[in-house]
Symmetry: D2
Subunit: 236 residues, 4 copies
């Protein structure tokens, strides 16, 4: 059974009534709920726990880590980022959601600024499926309509993704590469744009299905850790 | 249950004693054998059958098509190539083996000459795993050692593959991108180099495992056929 | 001096007053005009000329071919498509504009249906620069605003482009990968979406600059034709 | 005129007679020599200079930075790595040579371990041209033969390169992706494998030509810095 750890900064929910009302159990609570219903073994971890809830023991038991953070990226300890980075390279899947684009771990894996344009305007968004044969879009159809979502616009300063899965349309005139896959070491990474803390995106069935599909896609197969370092010749 | 059709030109086996002795049931027979043992529902089809064994009915029931051809590529009827091409775009997986690089269907899907260097010299080959987290290499380890394989050397005139899975080393001094994935329409395509008709590559357990993995990778997920053509505006 | 051949179907301009008034010298005439001003050596060729104006002699003297076609794709002779295809593989650059997405040559190079959604609604379009360091976007800025352009929408059934350069936003709610590069053989290919026959896109200075940049990008460098076929070992 | 800064660790040359004899003016001296002859404006910088020779002023005047390091990667100050990283994202080209695969700057840009197999055995190497139409291989031909080069073998733990340019063959049985391009922010990066300190690779005319071509390829075109952050709607 695939083991998922849902990491959430969990600050907005404690201080902002609007967020609290939208996600009374925290964003991690809501994500856990639909992942558990989908049959995964789900744990949560949050910033204010010891080691941000990401101890070596927790990471050891994590097949796929989900990351939501926003206003406290800088409070994530570098040692924890190092541990998570190492686990990703060894094969732990990583799903980075929404404002997690600016997290230390995503920037470390990408090597770029991961910057973008943004605007909160309470307007709708449409996420187009650009890669209809990809397992991450199974059951999604041509697009996902969201009643409200924060605008994220290009240029998005990431390396060219290995696979471009979604491109979003915003009524203000912008576009955004809103679903992107990357491989780093043995780890598979999926960035997915929806999830502003005051909107109901994580209640949307298609958004949930994408995250469920992405967990299945990102979990490691029975793969090897290659040998590195000095190597004796195989041929005379 | 995934339904696999193994297509083989099946000419060498009828006329060449060495090939007959290596593959008494035909190359398709040997490939069928290990795919059946792996739990797939396997059918075979060969060039000299009516419609080359690839009737609309057969293609309709095929999740993944495997293609081995060599000296009679030109005898494959264009209409059959069209049907296979259409099915691939609709989501049928395609695994092209060895000299199938010069088949009409592979060239049509690639849009290039698919040409390469070659030499039969009865020497060994080593297929390096370049993409250790890919599902196609699950269980394979760092490389596959073949006692004998035909040399195929760069430059291999294909589009840049979506994913480079294997690179082969040959004792004569050549290298070759010997495992490559491509997406075309909804179809997933895997090219895999081993399989000269006089060598025992399809008895090699790792070669078999790669083909088994590739069938699982290439079969369609529950994906959509996008709508094309005139489209009414979604926004006023 | 880079030699450009601008190929145009040149039918709309003969029969439709609106197109005639927009492009009195033909779409090829307008494209030639700004390419000549940019310092290229420019020739034109059109469908109704002998061999569609694309004789072996013309192709021999063409570094980069530009292709605009729409309603008469099927009238382009297969032999000419073969010649153009062969020249692209040998290193001739190819820039496919707008409805050329459905041309025989583009479909042959892509291996897919190249289908898409479309709508003529006289509304505006915004072409976002997704790849700000690419030579094709030099001098373009963050986006190109067009007063009117035909909507082309995803899914666009092409192989994953080697490089994604532009993504378009349409007011009706659609997005489109409107600038894409591909390599096939030694040839570099650029697809660029603007250019509906009744709109003034080829008078737009930024659209012109993109095409000028693309010619410079697509022209062959001093590269080799690799040796193919039987190859003697380099090592004992 | 393109301004190149050649950065070299410059330690082996001071302590190892064999290296000193191979590169009496330092590896940076030899690289400078052929780049200057090619018409570039060349400066050098080395580890033991103040700020490793990479002051803000030097970086400001650098279009393309070349990086050779080996045994003292850890001595490069993090602040300098940050400055170089920032300049790359802004558009400075970066060419990483040989053991520079393990430099802080390359690892930071890649987000992976950049690990590999290696062996010094004084044997030859053959670098195959996999991408014959790329500007970096102009004038190179099908392969580069080196009398002696250190073996670097797969798996090479890098993200999938944007373009694979060279694959090396080693007599001990290994292969290696020895020429790879990447884009990060506005910066273009080229990794090139040859250049062990005791071998004469930087005297090889083809190796020199590749580096010259790569400088021309990596230098920024007239591109923009996109606007990031809060963004007002373009549409009502």
């Amino acid at each position: 059974m695939t083991r998922v750890t849902v990491w959430n900064e969990f600050r907005h929910e404690k201080t902002d009534a609007k967020v609290q009302s939208m996600y009374p159990d925290g964003i991690h609570g809501q994500i856990s709920q639909f992942l558990t219903a989908a049959g995964f073994e789900v744990t949560t971890a949050t910033l204010d726990e010891a080691e941000h809830g990401l101890t070596a023991e927790v990471l050891e038991k994590t097949d796929v880590l989900i990351w939501w953070g926003h206003k406290a990226h800088e409070e994530v300890a570098d040692e924890i980022v190092e541990s998570v980075h190492q686990k990703v390279l060894e094969g732990m899947g990583l799903i980075v959601l929404h404002s997690g684009h600016f997290s230390k771990i995503f920037k470390k894996l990408m090597g770029t600024s991961c910057d973008l344009k943004w605007r909160e305007d309470d307007r709708h968004a449409r996420i187009w499926n650009i890669n209809p044969s990809h397992p991450i879009v199974a059951g999604i159809g041509e697009c996902i309509e969201l009643e409200q979502e924060e605008m994220y616009g290009e240029h998005f300063d990431i390396p060219a993704p290995d696979e471009l899965i979604f491109v979003s349309w915003f009524p203000g005139g912008e576009v955004f590469r809103s679903g992107c896959t990357f491989s780093r070491g043995n780890g598979k990474i999926f960035y997915f744009q929806p999830g502003h803390e005051t909107y109901n995106s994580y209640y949307n069935k298609k958004v949930q299905q994408v995250i469920i599909n992405a967990v299945n896609w990102a979990k490691a197969t029975d793969n090897i850790q290659p040998a590195y370092g000095h190597f004796d010749a195989l041929e005379k």
